[in-house]
C-alpha cells in the first residue's frame, strides 16, 4: 500500500515530504520514546507518535522510517518541519488519537509484525 492511500483514507494533513507519498508502507511502529524507536523501529515503517520536536526527524532519518504521523491534531514545531524538509521525511498530522488511528491502520492491513 502506498503512503498516499493512507493519507487519503484518514484525511491526514501532509506537512512536508510531498515527493515521498508514492512509496510503499512497510509496516508501522508506535512509540513516544525516541530511544524505543531507535531500538525497535524498522526501515519503511510509518511511525505514530505525539512528539513534535525536531529530534523525531533525526530518529526517522537514522532508522530510514517512511514517515511520521503526529496524533491528536498536534502541530509539529517549525524546526521539525525545516529539518524534515531537508531530510525528505514526510510528516503528517491526524486528528485522531493514537489508539483510534493505530487501530484503523491495522484494520487497513498495516502491521507492526515483520
Amino acid at each position: 500500500m502506498k503512503l498516499r492511500a493512507v493519507i487519503e483514507e484518514f484525511e491526514l494533513t501532509v506537512k512536508c515530504g510531498e515527493d515521498k507519498l508514492d512509496e510503499e508502507v512497510g509496516g508501522g511502529y508506535a512509540s513516544d520514546l525516541l530511544s524505543d524507536v531507535l531500538a525497535n523501529g524498522k526501515a519503511g515503517d510509518l511511525w505514530v507518535t505525539l512528539q513534535i520536536h525536531e529530534n523525531i526527524v533525526a530518529v526517522a532519518s537514522m532508522k530510514d522510517l517512511l514517515g511520521i504521523i503526529i496524533i491528536n491534531g498536534r502541530q509539529p514545531e517549525e524546526e521539525t518541519l525545516e529539518k524534515a524538509g531537508e531530510e525528505g521525511i514526510p510528516i503528517m498530522v491526524s486528528k485522531l488519537s493514537a489508539f483510534e488511528l493505530i487501530g484503523r491502520l491495522y484494520g487497513m492491513g498495516i502491521s507492526g509484525k515483520r
Binding site: L33, L34, S35, L38, A39, Q51, I52, H53, E54, N55, A58, V59, S61, M62
Partner: protein, 244 residues
C-alpha cells in the same frame, strides 16, 4: 563575606548532539564573560568529556566552570548532575557509558567533538549521546547524590525531555535539589514556583554561542563550590539563589 555570582548552570559544548560545532572552550568562555557571567556549568548530553577543556579555558580568564552532565533517563527525562570534583564526574561518566546503547549517526545528530582548552579537536565521541540511559529518574538522582552532586530537573517548562512533559508529575519521593526553568518560561516563573515546592534556577540550556547567558541565576554565596550552591538553593546561612 557573601558575594553575588551570576551563573548559567546549563551550557552545552560541541560534544552535544544538536549543539553548534562553534561551542568551543575559548568561545564559550569569551561569550560568558561578555554576558557578565561569573560562573557557568558545562552539561553535555550524557558526557563529561569536554568539561576539563572548558574549565582550563575558564581558569585563564577568571571564569568559574562547574563540571556537570545532562543525563537522559529511560523515561527520556533530562536531569542535570553538577559535581565538585573530578573523580565524581568520571564516576558518573562510567555509570552512564555502562548503560547507554547505540552508536552516533553524524549526519543525523552531529559530530560530537571532543576538544582541548585551545579548541583543538582531539577526538570524536562515537556513542549515541542523544539516546537514553537505562536508568530511571530515581536511579539517576540517587547516583548523583551518592557522589555528592546536585541533581536538577532540566527545563521543566518544556514538554520535550522535561520531567513534567515526560512523566506528567514530579514523583513525590524524588529528591531533586532544584527545578530548572528555561528562557521560554520568562513571564510564567511565578506559576511554576507556586505549584512546585522546590528551589528554582533559570539557565540558558545553550546549544549555540549567542544563547549563553540568555537566562541565568544569581547566587549569593561565599565562593563557587557545590556546597555553597547547595546552601544558596536551600536559602541556608543567608545564602540565596535568585532567578532572573
Amino acid at each position: 563575606m557573601l558575594k553575588s555570582f551570576r551563573g548559567d548552570l546549563h551550557v552545552h559544548t560541541c560534544l552535544s548532539p544538536c549543539a553548534s560545532n562553534k561551542m568551543l572552550p575559548t568561545v564559550i568562555v569569551k561569550e560568558a564573560i561578555k554576558k557578565n557571567l561569573d560562573l557557568i556549568s558545562i552539561c553535555d548530553h550524557n558526557s563529561v568529556e569536554n568539561v576539563e577543556a572548558v574549565r582550563k579555558a575558564g581558569e585563564k580568564q577568571g571564569l568559574a566552570v562547574i563540571g556537570g552532565v545532562e543525563m537522559t533517563s529511560r523515561e527520556e527525562v533530562h536531569i542535570l548532575g553538577l559535581f565538585g570534583d573530578e573523580k565524581a564526574l568520571w564516576d558518573i561518566q562510567n555509570i552512564i557509558y555502562l548503560n547507554l546503547p547505540g552508536k552516533n549517526d553524524r549526519n543525523a545528530f552531529g559530530e560530537q567533538l571532543i576538544v582541548d582548552e585551545k579548541d583543538n579537536i582531539i577526538n570524536i565521541n562515537e556513542r549515541l549521546l542523544i539516546g537514553a540511559t537505562g536508568y530511571s529518574v530515581e536511579e539517576i538522582v540517587a547516583a548523583i547524590h551518592d557522589r555528592g552532586g546536585l541533581a536538577i530537573a532540566s527545563h521543566i517548562d518544556r514538554e520535550s525531555f522535561g520531567i513534567l512533559g515526560q512523566l506528567g508529575i514530579i514523583p513525590p519521593a524524588l529528591a531533586l535539589d532544584a527545578l530548572e526553568l528555561s528562557a521560554m518560561a520568562t513571564g510564567n516563573q511565578e506559576k511554576f514556583r507556586q505549584e512546585y515546592d522546590f528551589p528554582f534556577v533559570t539557565s540558558s540550556d545553550a546549544h549555540y554561542v549567542s544563547d549563553i547567558g540568555k537566562s541565568c541565576t544569581s547566587f549569593f554565596m561565599e565562593k563557587v563550590s557545590i556546597e555553597e550552591i547547595r546552601k544558596a538553593l536551600q536559602g541556608k546561612n543567608r545564602r540565596r539563589a535568585i532567578i532572573e
